[in-house]
């Protein structure tokens, strides 16, 4: 499996969105680069490899989430997809596994803010982008009775 595919597959398992949805945001490459550049060397690769070698399914995801080293990374990856933001890794994690200059809380890019899955999941759109059109706000949201 190419690292791009396994990144998408892991992201899908973590976020609850399909790989197609994730590709549709246009953010996959930027987020891969963000992880690679922001985590101490080797950890991004370790995340993908651990998940793949554990079989890449639900059990593998549970294993990652429960892992003291990889769990916090996976949680940050979920947040990246949902919010477009990176949260600085917790202090105890940093002292155990290291840090990089980029590891600080930030909006990853204007595009990342707009692409956040949180807006889609709310049935909405990011503020000041993806406008729904005049009076769309008067209609019932998706999934309401």
């Amino acid at each position: 499996m190419q690292s791009n595919d396994s990144f998408l597959a892991l992201s899908a398992a973590l976020t609850g969105f399909s790989t197609l949805d994730l590709l549709g945001t246009g953010m996959a490459q930027e987020y891969q680069r963000t992880l690679d550049a922001t985590l101490p060397p080797g950890i991004y690769r370790e995340l993908l490899e651990t998940w793949a070698s554990a079989g890449g399914g639900e059990a593998a995801t549970d294993q990652i989430m429960g892992d003291p080293k990889l769990g916090p990374v996976a949680r940050n990856l979920i947040q990246l997809w949902y919010c477009g933001t990176w949260s600085a890794m917790p202090d105890d994690w940093r002292s155990a596994y290291g840090t990089t200059p980029l590891d600080m809380s930030r909006v990853v890019s204007p595009e990342a803010f707009q692409a956040g899955l949180q807006w889609a999941v709310a049935g909405a759109h990011a503020p000041a982008s993806g406008q729904q059109g005049f009076a769309a706000w008067a209609l019932p949201p998706e999934g309401s009775s």
Partner: protein, 592 residues
Amino acid sequence: MSDEEWYDVVVVGAGVAGALIAKAVSDAKLTALVLEAGPERATSFDGYQRHVRHFYAAAAKNAESAWPPDPHAPQPDTADIRQGSGYFIQRGPDRYGSSYTRARGGSTLHWLGVSLRMLPEDFGIRTRYGVGRDWPIGYDELEPYYRKAEVAMGVSADVADQRYHGLTFGEGYDYPMRRLPLSYSDTKLAEAIAGLTVDVGAGPVPVTVRSYPAARNSTPRPGYRPIGTIDKRPEGGEVEMFVGERCAGNTSCTPICPIQAKYNAGRTLTQADDTYLRLIPQAVVSHIDIDSESGQVSGLTYLRYDDSGFTIHRVRGGAYVLAAHAVENAKLMLLSGLGGQHVGRNLMDHPALYAWGLAPEPIGAFRGPLSTAGIEELRAGAFRSQHAAFRFDVGNDGWRATTGAPDTTVAAAIRQQGLYGPRLRESLAAALSRQVRLSLAVEQLPDPANQVTIDPSQRDPLGIPRPAISYQIDDYTKAGMAAATQVAQAIFQRAGIADCTDHASGTWFPTVTWGDQVFAYHGMGHFAGTHAMGSGPHDSVVDSYQRSWEHRNLYLVGSGSMPTMGTSNPTLTLAALAIRTAEQLIASMSRG
């Protein structure tokens, strides 16, 4: 000085007040100069879009996040309130929680656009309720100017919804555009609280969810052409005319409407005839010069800056209009040693509380303008002799303002509940769309101790002393906060909304205590009172035309002229006052 020029009218500040006056003056073929402290970055479409991107990338998406100041013309930022740092020197005892924008277009660049008229009774609360002060003019005198302001700013509403608490409208008049459609959540809340009455001390009052007038483009009434995106460039604009002629539901009115469907003062300036109106950006007025014999203003000194430093200039005119907003107007007077004992005093705001909860079913939060409806019944009533009046905004933006949602909702689901995968998605889908927010904006009365002063020991980069603010929220307002909280709780209960209001877990705001209650309040950006109008120099700074009692060729315009504010957001009223001032000013000049 070689560069000393002369204009019929010199205006300080390119916000809505200054823009309306300068435009009226130039329409009358008199020359107007507008000196604007801040930069002019958003006149072209591309320049404006850079601010939109700045907002996308901002870590804290607060009211200032799209409009970074130029260091030479600093401005308050709500992010500084917690530390008590920043541009304002906070003297306490309570923190003043509001901000404004120093750039061409002024604070309307980031305002929300709520354009309510003041109530007839608001103009005489001293006579009627024994509190506050009376205005020297009444509603009937201002009514025609309200209409003109609604047309000038492009306000959407239906008169049929707005006839309450004695509000009247000119014969045959309706707003230039039809009301913006209510949001789905407004409609749901309206249904859920139908028939609810509350009592805040003067008998039972029915409460309803009502569309409020907004300066956001909707469907025009015959004869009105809405103005949307401005794209002014030397070679002519390139953006399609219709962009922004109707609100498209970007859910971002504050801090920036990406398509300019929301009014900002840049629009008014762009429509003026350049032959008569000149605007100089990055020009900070630093002194008002007075002729010692006549007591009239003889000129203004201003500092023009760029990245390499600044130069000092002087300009003269037939009349001078300070439209730099309540704090900066007062600051300029104080810097110049003018205005007597009343300048800077009686600073007000609408300290506001949030109430938030979860609706029993999805209501479509995070869509549409940030709000489209309010609850207006408690703006008036006999209880005002005892405690403050208040109004509610019904939010369409979930818990964004109250807790930082959806980001904080996502973070809690991931980190506290430990969710991921399909369960995370389902949980968020169920929660986000049900988030409800009410803003409880509470009236504040004039108190001379609430005051803007200047502190010569603390200066901005141009060497101009920074404003210091003494501010206290009194018992009258706190009792109003308590009553407003009660009403919010009654509404949530009737609507089956689970009350999640908990300021300890929400966004940080300053607090005041009232008995055993703690209220976390935020500023609404509604600065008022610092150069209030009144019946004479003994009790006020300006007359009802906003003309200085002491210096008859000087006008101080804006919400600083308002002796009281009632519960309406001040901009429509300050715009109506500005148009009235412009008429009088032009008439006096034509008479010669």
